[in-house]
Symmetry: none
Subunit: 118 residues, 2 copies
DNA sequence: AGCGAGTGCTTGGTATACCAAGCATGCCCA
DNA sequence: TGGGCATGCTTGGTATACCAAGCACTCGCT
């Protein structure tokens, strides 16, 4: 059922985030309350973590659980309830901010997109 | 880790929703691609369904997966109380962006304020 | 009554999520 | 050179999520 691929990608995403936060396997594992080998295996896509494990990992990495769920393909929707559908709120707000120069806007949006994991 | 109580409540919620949709265990189970005994046990709080099972059940009951995840206590409630007027649009948008971690939000806002200061 | 089809539940078993202990390698400092 | 100490990984085992088969019951129908 699980698409295999999603899980693999999820693992890589987690590893990336962990390295980005400059933390070791054991550090994250301890905070997330899982064993370090298991975390390792998750990162390599060998096992599919259950939901509460995912939540723990998200907490340890200080990223939102929703993000991980979405990455794992467990949430169908990109929650885009209000306003504009094509563009995220943040980008829209940045673009329309009169106090920012064009270069600054570009930089900010760049950082923002970087954070989203792309 | 899982609060026991949440899982019990989740099960009752699922059963309620199922009855409300006037469906039998087997019907929902088939659509959700789980066995009917297992679904029964989930409804009685005996087992904690994994995330993809939850997603399947949500689909079968035509309710959003997010709702179930929230019920299961897997998503911390975002509860974005809207609009503070004194705050710039950009900061507000950043703070309420579900895809950003707290640290990332802090960083982004930091960059933004830095730009305004120069 | 008797049966057929519906309901939810119990039970034995299998697959897999998850862990404790330990291995292998690399880095630092005496 | 060699012993701590950190890193990520392997392995054997346990707990539990999940299923197939079947039980006990109820409700219409004839």
């Amino acid at each position: 059922m699980g698409d295999e691929k999603s899980w693999k990608a999820l693992g890589e995403f987690i590893r990336t985030q962990r390295r980005l936060a400059d933390m070791s396997l054991r550090q994250v594992a301890q905070v997330a309350k899982v064993s370090n080998p298991y975390l390792s295996q998750i990162e390599r896509g060998i096992y599919k973590p259950s939901a509460d494990i995912l939540k723990g990992i998200a907490g340890a990495l200080q990223i939102s659980a929703e993000t991980l769920f979405a990455r794992a393909g467990l949430l169908e929707e990109e929650s885009t309830p209000p306003s504009k559908k094509g563009q995220p709120m943040v980008e829209q707000a940045i673009r329309t901010d009169p106090k920012l120069s064009p270069d600054q806007k570009k930089a900010l949006i760049g950082v923002y997109r970087g954070f989203l994991g792309n």
